[in-house]
Subunit: 340 residues, 2 copies
DNA sequence: GCGATTTCTGTGAACGTGCACAGAATGGGG
DNA sequence: CCCCATTCTGTGCACGTTCACAGAAATCGC
């Protein structure tokens, strides 16, 4: 059994006008809740709308209004993000709530390939959105260029290093890393190292900088292992290297929770107890942090606040208000669990 | 330091025409890659496009074309889904890839509150999308009503029980349950029971049916415990009941991974080893499956395929092709781990 | 009872595109 | 040289709104 969709055509404002025996203008006023409509006309029009099943055509509306009342939310790198990073979901929700409050529709666009980039660029160019929130933009991202060229109000969650002057909201990685390291040192650890990751990104570099800030003159380069990615396997690798180089290590700051989880495995393999022999702290407060044994002490990413903040930055621009350049840095509370 | 966004107005096809010294029609032909344009005109127009920074206005285009070349992807219940269910991300990606291939833009809309429902309904009504993919629709979902009324091509991932006649893609719960039970029996278990859950939903009822299919004449109603929800606590409860009724039980099919995790706890409390004394299998291949000790043998949900399948169903309708009514059922591979 | 308001309604233009159609060039063939 | 087919180009209309404006109807003050 099959069905062929009968694409019945939509009722227009004109149909409503005819049905109610009034003009288009009056119907438009009713639809948009404007004053100067008599009670009788209003009633007739409302009945007619119901009868013909009228819904306003947004394409036509946004053509004449020059705006769509929608804001794009662009996610790059979805494979790793969507499937592993729980933050992205919360950022999404935070942004959605803020945009909802302002009666904007959030439209989430996923870039999963080169082809997607071009298509999304076309979509954005087309006037379907009034503003854009970009998550995890890459350096020299073509999407960024498109957005810039269009002069579309934009806000980044995090920010590519080449775009410091565009509005963004993020966290102070350096300061958070410093605070966390200090907290770890406060437990009395003597030989504290770090598994630094993704030093080519500013987040990775900043976390390392915060670590060295905290150590001060006690800093020992032999106690820093660098791995390419914020990943579990990289954590295993990094921890092995640290154990090899400095067997007396008794504290580790891993650049992310995933890295920390890997470190825990390497420590277990090496017969070290956590937090007995070695204290371990992570970063992100992701699902990893609660899943590991013992659960990780870490820094909480205010994901929902990041989304809401980015939305707010876009809304400000949409309202024509001045926007602080250089970005908004959110507070990151330390979550102390059992791993240190 | 602040910046006020200069909302410079967009170049139109008319501006390009003037710049290139040709007419709108010719520019339109170049933009849409149509034949019958002289080489000189084409060159002049391309230069003009570049010079004035023209990008086509999709709102205008979709107004006249009566389509937007976009498909909505609607997610309800985002809090639990986005933050816990890894499937949703994969479904999203699967759908995105399929739509990309057909040169459609996927537009993801999140419903997080009552207010969102109304706004999304308006958005869909407005002609911004040509079709809709709906994930996890509720029974009597208002969004579903809107979509039905608009006659918008739709596909569900999973399906609410009141909508059997709309296109959907899901899994064959009955067959999957039968296959899994047979696999469990093949390990040599003699007394295999089931913790059935959510028998008021078709997925729950089908899983039980598959179980009885596999058992055939060996089926013993005393070996089936029924619990209301796919939940951890319900699993604990159900397993206790089974152990009480049939202490000689040596195999259990739990209706979901969460239920299976609960069953593991009850078995541990009762001093039974898994898989030594009792083999346990779950369903879903969710995060639970890898988190438990021992990790669960279970049935994998083909999440990415569900997304791609739903996209394909929508695309078929968009092309005006006949669509199988009653839905598409996907194959579900068994993932055999250590719990049985 | 009449002008001055206030409230209400209808009309035409515009938004930026695609498309059908008409018409202008071009190029051959007779 | 003319006719016809082919290739190319321009024009007007339609899509469904909103908005400014003009004009009609009602209300009011004197």
């Amino acid at each position: 059994m099959v069905s062929v969709p009968a694409r019945r055509k939509r009722a227009t404002i004109h149909d409503v006008a005819v049905e109610a025996g009034v003009s288009r203008g009056t119907v438009s006023r009713v639809v948009n809740d404007e004053p100067y409509v008599s009670a009788s006309a209003r009633a007739a029009i409302e009945a007619a709308i119901e009868k013909v099943g009228y819904v306003p055509n947004n394409a036509a509306r946004s053509l004449v209004m020059q705006r769509s009342q929608a804001v794009g939310f662009i996610v790059h790198e979805p494979h790793s993000l969507f499937l592993e990073d729980p933050n992205i979901g919360e950022i999404l929700l935070g942004a959605n709530t803020a945009l909802s409050d302002a009666d904007y529709q959030m439209v989430c666009l996923i870039i999963d390939s080169e082809r997607d980039t071009a298509r999304v660029a076309r979509y954005l160019s087309g006037g379907f959105v009034d503003g854009v929130i970009i998550v995890s933009a890459r350096q020299h991202d073509p999407i960024t260029r498109v957005v810039e060229k269009l002069g579309l109000p934009t806000a980044f969650v995090g920010h590519p290093p080449d775009l410091r002057d565009l509005p963004f909201v993020g966290i102070d990685n350096r300061r958070s890393a410093r605070d966390l390291t200090e907290r770890l040192l406060a437990t009395g650890r003597q030989r504290v190292g770090m598994i630094a990751a993704a030093l080519d990104r500013d987040s990775g570099a900043d976390r390392l900088a915060g670590f060295t800030d905290a150590l001060g003159e006690r800093f020992d380069p032999a106690l820093v292992a660098s791995v390419p990615l914020y990943a579990y396997a990289a954590g295993v690798e990094g921890m092995r290297e640290l154990l090899h180089r400095s067997p007396d290590i008794d504290g580790v700051f891993a650049a992310s929770d995933a890295v920390a989880a890997g470190a825990l495995e390497a420590l277990r393999d090496a017969g070290r107890s956590v937090p007995g022999d070695v204290g371990v702290v992570g970063f992100d407060d992701s699902a990893w942090a609660r899943r590991t044994q013992p659960p990780l002490s870490t820094v909480h990413q205010p994901a929902s606040g990041l989304g809401a903040g980015a939305a707010e930055l876009v809304l400000q621009q949409l309202r024509g208000e001045a926007t602080p350049v250089g970005g908004l840095l959110l507070h990151t509370p330390i979550v102390w669990r059992a791993s240190a």
